[in-house]
Amino acid sequence: MSDGPLLEVRHLTRRYGERYACRDISFELWRGEVLAIVGESGSGKTTLLNAVCGRVTPDRGQVLFYGADDRARDLTALSGVELRRLVRDEIGFVHQNPRDGLRLGFSAGANIGEPIMAAGGRHYGNIRRTAADWLRRVEIDANRIDDLPATFSGGMQQRLQIARALVTKPRLVLMDEPTGGLDVSVQARLLDLMRGLAAELRVAIIIVTHDLGVARLLAHRLIVMQDGRMVENGVTDQVLDDPQHPYTQLLVSSVLAA
């Protein structure tokens, strides 16, 4: 296993008509690293995240992903089949709204088992054991394995989604506002859990958030975006404690002290 980066984004640009969603964004991500992307609504965070997993095709730039064989693949140049296979095997996605990431009509076990079956798992007993094991890891009682996610609380649904994203042991997990819409105590538990899992599995995470507290708690590095541009990029504590760009200064100063 090489020590090179897992992901290299180079000069990524994406326009919607005349508006730039992302303008010339470049960054690198290493294995096991947690990167937070912060910025206000409409600053291009979600477009950037979607470009990293091939859901949005950039107008210019490259997204180089180093897969299990340590070979760089440009996600923007892959064919549909190759791209979907790579994303299925190596990249997990956690949506802000659990309804977008889960099959609410199927049991919790089936939701965790689906990525295993999609990757070719055909042994019921093994799938079920893995699902039960992952429920425990995300702190859901294993005897709820046959319950529908619709009967779960918002925080539990979000943890189920995280289990579903991690079960195939991807090298990269993308999270779009995973703590949005949860109350503060549930958020804290979820963040604790994600921090533990990230360290344990050495999985790289890109987390999009507008909550600086989330970024401070979870992220090693931070990217601040404004109006499609990357205005600041650095180690989390450094950026938050000594912001250089006026926008970052504004962002940091507007956090309410509890």
């Binding site: 199927f106 089936a110 088992g113 689906e114 079956m117 999609a118 055909r122 042994h123 019921y124 046959d146």
Partner: protein
């Protein structure tokens, strides 16, 4: 067997016009060339409602010739309304011989069953299909299901079987049980019972499937490999009964459970009437 009769005047042979039959035959040829692939075709209005076998009738009309002998079954029976009507339709419009005997028939149009009597080379089975797309319950968008077929992206199909086992301890999907055709295409075998799935595998007969409302045709050429989906530790298995047929005593056929009085007395008899009658004779 009913001998050929004189076809009713005023209709083209087998009701459909020749251009339409050629169009359907082209779709059939493509379907045979790519086993399990759903070929779109320009389905016509037929003189019966969707859901009553419009797809099957169009396929039968396109492959039938004056020398053919037609058998039509509905839920295994030759004497139900749908079977009788369709058989009479082709006797009138094509003047062909009709039969209830599986062995005598050259074309068998069916709904819900494959006959118990083993099929032979040279016979054609025509299935009436309500919903041709096996991925439809999983994904409502046609553009996406087509992409999934193109990429053989079928992993999620097992979710439904997983759910069966998790709830009931075994796979409870009992009809229209999804199959992999020739290790490539996922296919709905139409609403035949799971019991009949093994009869599809490497059958010497040609199997044609027509969906009238959805306007799709697909096919299994003779001797095609057909495998029912399952798990390694929950292999595919057909239904079993503790009873035998209470009419003919068959131990190996698909049985109907029939309530015979108001006190809930039940009787198990063969669903395949021709098979049952044949054993009684």
């Amino acid at each position: 067997m009913n001998a050929p009769v004189k076809a009713e005047a005023g209709y083209n042979f087998a009701y459909l016009d020749e251009q339409t039959k050629r169009m359907i035959r082209r779709a059939l040829l493509k379907a045979v060339a790519v086993p399990g692939y759903q070929v779109p075709f320009a389905g016509r209005e037929m003189p019966l409602p969707y859901g009553w076998g419009t797809g099957g009738i169009q396929v039968t009309a396109s492959v039938i010739g004056p020398d053919d002998t037609l058998k039509v079954i509905d839920q295994g029976a030759d004497d139900t309304t749908n079977a009788v009507s369709i058989r009479r339709f082709f006797a009138k419009t094509a003047g062909v011989a009709t039969t209830t005997g599986t062995a005598e028939a050259s074309i068998i149009q069916t709904r819900h069953r494959i006959p118990e009597t083993p099929l032979k080379a040279g016979q054609i089975m025509v299935f009436q299909v309500p919903i041709p797309e096996p991925l439809r319950w999983l994904e409502p968008r046609e553009t996406v299901t087509r992409r999934m077929h193109a990429e053989a992206d079928y992993g999620a199909m097992h979710v439904k079987l997983y759910e069966d086992i998790a709830r009931m301890g075994r796979i409870t999907t009992s009809y229209d049980y999804p199959v992999m055709v020739n290790r490539r295409y996922l296919m709905r075998p139409s609403p035949i019972p799971r019991f009949d799935n093994p009869k599809l595998d490497r059958s010497p007969a040609l199997m044609l499937f027509g969906a009238g409302r959805e306007k799709r045709i697909y096919a299994l050429p003779p001797h095609t490999l057909v495998k029912s989906l399952d798990f390694e530790d929950h292999p595919f298995a057909i239904e079993r009964w503790t009873q035998r047929c209470q009419r003919c005593g068959a131990p190996d056929s698909f049985l109907n459970e029939i309530v015979v009085d108001d006190r809930g007395t039940r009787r198990f008899v063969c669903s395949d009437t021709d098979y049952c009658d044949g054993r009684m004779a």
